[in-house]
């Protein structure tokens, strides 16, 4: 599809503004000319009739707020306040309020940190892969996924702060020298981590924001038309987007560029997180597979989280027409691939340890099997079972089943993080110091608060920004259609 065409199409949508009802003639082509029944994906819903109804529909979650929303946010605030209170106690009293002890210096905080960093790989990486591979079904889910990246990174970024012993000295890690020209130690994986997460957060925030621009403009127009208070920040944030040809050209280039950049950064981030473990000489952590294994695990949990979120959005905001079964189906297929790869990695890690029979590594596995059999089953069962379950189309298309499966996958992945951190540290090299660990109430509160914080950020985001990638959907609508080939009708799409 030529940029000219695209520009025209977008210009028609966004540039035309909200007030002016424009027909979307291309939509007609989706309808089966014979049956007059929807047969294509963008088919039946009235929302696709014209842009206004589409905008109205997709912006409804943003502009319409029920009391239930405030109750929900209030509940989240309570959980967050509880976690924050315990964290404050921890900071002023000491790390002793956690369940950590020698030599389990890292515990559930770090496991949760890895989990959230992993979650962040859903969005942006999935989004850029799908963008670059031009998967057409990606369109409505991009925003939700990208926002997830940004927010889970924000949550993840809190954990190093929560975890360290002296929060008030954390700035020693900032990459600038002190008065004695002493820089931080760039040999430490934690510094790589610090930098990688910083870059990734910046990159994915930018990615999210750039992607938001056309939709911000649409929302701005609606807000102005409705006299809604959101117009104030929307005006500023939309950067005066008008949908001009040049804007679209820059926008497209920028998105493409960012997609490529993010695609490079994202694996490096989780690889580096894995190096926090793999670079040590600790048996059970010191393995070369950790990099790809973590990245894949991250994508795995991320995609599952996207599914969870999509289904929730669909259900809460009645976005069934935008986020359709087809999308969940496609995500399910993606999940199968990742699950198979992840299972393969897990198998490899286990198999190599098992075969080489290094006593210290065996001990960790044995201990893990004895101490956490239920968690082990949850983790392995969660991933392997997923492969089989998702093989059925009926399951992939059943929202309830997919919701359950996605939760199962993430429960399994959270468990995996816990099992990476804890059993290894409770069975260190020095057998005299073997021990056990259980997170304290403080840790559980803070972790619960991190989940609440994530949902809270998301909930607030939904009310302030368009959650559906409207421009992308509209583009998809514009560029696809049916083509008659004799008696058959085939879906075709203009190549981007």
């Amino acid at each position: 599809m030529s940029s000219d065409h695209l520009a025209r199409a977008h210009g028609a949508v966004a540039g035309g503004g909200h007030g002016e009802v424009m027909a979307m003639p291309e939509l007609e082509s989706y309808r089966d000319p014979e049956a007059g029944k929807p047969r294509a994906d963008y088919g039946d819903a009235d929302i696709y009739r014209d842009e206004k109804s589409f905008n109205e529909h997709t912006l409804r979650p943003m502009f319409t707020t029920t009391p239930a929303y405030f109750i929900f946010v209030g509940a989240l605030a309570l959980v967050m306040a509880n976690g924050f209170a315990w964290f404050t106690v921890q900071m002023f009293v000491g790390m002793g309020v956690t369940g950590l002890h020698e030599p389990v210096f890292w515990g559930s905080y770090i496991a949760t940190f890895v989990f959230w960093v992993g979650m962040s790989h859903s969005g942006t990486i999935v989004s850029s892969i799908l963008r670059l591979s031009q998967a057409n079904w990606r369109r409505p889910i991009l925003r939700a996924a990208e926002a997830m990246t940004a927010f889970s990174l924000l949550v993840a970024g809190l954990f190093p702060l929560i975890h360290v012993g002296r929060q008030w000295r954390v700035y020693y890690m900032f990459p600038f020298p002190n008065q004695r020209m002493l820089w931080p130690n760039f040999k430490s994986p934690l510094m790589w981590d610090f930098c990688a997460i910083g870059i990734y957060l910046t990159g994915s925030m930018t990615f999210l924001y750039i992607g938001l621009l056309p939709d911000l403009a649409a929302a701005r127009d609606k807000a102005i038309a409705d006299g809604n208070w959101r117009q104030h920040y929307l005006k500023a944030l939309a950067l005066g987007w008008r949908g001009s040809h040049r804007e679209w050209a820059v926008y497209n280039k920028c998105s493409l560029f960012l997609a490529v950049v993010i695609l490079c950064i994202a694996p490096s981030v989780h690889t580096i997180v894995s190096w926090d473990f793999a670079m040590t000489m600790t048996p059970g952590w010191h393995t070369t597979i950790f990099g790809p294994y973590f990245v894949l695990g991250a994508i795995y949990s991320g995609v599952a989280a996207v599914i969870t979120l999509m289904i929730l959005l669909r259900w809460i905001f009645k976005l069934d027409d935008v986020i359709r079964e087809m999308h969940i189906d496609c995500l399910g297929k993606l999940l199968i691939v990742i699950a198979i790869l992840w299972t393969y990695f897990y198998f490899t890690e286990f198999n190599v340890t098992w075969y080489s029979h290094k006593p210290e590594e065996w001990e960790i596995w044995e201990w893990q099997g004895r101490r956490f059999p239920h968690l082990l089953w949850l983790m392995v069962g969660g991933s392997v079972l997923t492969i089989f379950l998702l093989a059925w189309k009926d399951i992939r298309r059943s929202m309830k089943a997919m919701f359950a499966i996605s939760l199962l996958v993430n429960a399994g992945m959270y468990t995996e993080r816990y099992l990476i951190v804890v059993p290894v540290l409770t069975r260190r090299d020095n057998a005299f110091m073997w021990t056990d660990y259980f997170p304290s109430f403080t840790e559980l509160s803070v972790i619960a608060a991190s989940f609440a914080y994530f949902v809270f950020l998301y909930a607030v985001f939904i009310k302030l920004f368009p959650i559906v990638t409207m421009a992308d959907v509209k583009e998809g609508v514009l560029i696809s259609g049916d083509m008659r080939l004799g008696r058959h009708v085939a879906r075709v799409q203009v190549k981007e």
Partner: protein, 241 residues
């Protein structure tokens, strides 16, 4: 008189040997270390949570079953590795290798990521889970040479750095190098069986040098390649009765 150029000529490399054939596990070193280095007692509850701060501990291993039982003692403290796993992972250089071969913990620099503790195969780094507490009476005993630590930082055996500095100061005042045996860490000084020997590994005439080259010296976790400055002297005999 002051011909010995302290700065230029000192080429110390501190090391320690622990003779496992001499150690009887009495635990005098444990308490001596605690008294010398202002190591806080953590109390029964925290002991139960395995948060003891003993920089030096005596590990006790049991071999065999009744009646052929053998109990071994293994004093364990920071091994002051030449290639210390803890040093490279600290993001803020709170632990580093000083020019005299010691692994040094800079309390004020530490932010408490505890990465060093995770990477220490000997598990000899200790974290201040709480602010260490001394009541007003007990504070009278605190050694003024050793700084108190606050919550949230790592600490560990310093090889009685304060004693090394004191001996070096005296030696410097007298314009001579530190003599062998002049420095004794608290554990070595109190050890009734003389299992612990401390000295300059670079001095070919030092006791510690002799012991390290006695053929009995081993490194713990040799396979890790940490090159500890603390060597253990193997003991035991094939023939007993």
């Amino acid at each position: 008189m002051k011909s010995f150029n302290y700065k230029r000529q000192n080429n110390y490399s501190w090391g320690m040997t622990i003779d496992l054939d001499r150690c009887n596990g009495c635990g005098a070193c444990v308490v001596a270390c605690q008294a010398e280095n202002n190591v806080a007692s953590v109390g029964a509850e925290q002991s139960g949570k395995e948060r003891n701060m003993h920089w030096l501990r005596i590990e006790r291993y049991i071999e065999g079953t009744y009646p052929d039982v053998k109990v071994r003692f293994l004093p364990m403290m920071c091994q002051h590795c030449e290639r210390a796993p803890c040093e490279s992972v600290c993001p803020v250089y709170a632990t580093y290798h000083n020019p005299e071969g010691l692994n040094v913990q800079v309390y004020n620099r530490c932010i408490g990521t505890r990465f060093c503790g995770n990477n220490c195969p000997y598990s000899v780094r200790f974290f201040n889970w709480w602010d260490p507490a001394w009541d007003a009476d007990q504070a009278n005993q605190l050694n003024p040479d050793v700084s108190l630590r606050e919550r949230g930082i790592m600490e560990k055996c310093s090889m009685c750095m304060q004693r090394i500095r004191r001996a070096k100061d005296h030696a410097k005042d007298e314009g001579r190098p530190v003599a062998d045996g002049e420095i004794q860490p608290a554990c070595a000084q109190t050890c009734p069986t003389r299992a612990i020997t401390f000295g300059d590994r670079n001095d070919p005439d030092s006791k510690v040098h002799e012991l390290m080259h006695s053929g009995r010296a081993i490194n713990l976790f040799e396979e890790k390649g940490t090159h500890p400055a603390v060597k253990y002297l193997k003991g035991g005999a094939a023939h007993v009765i």
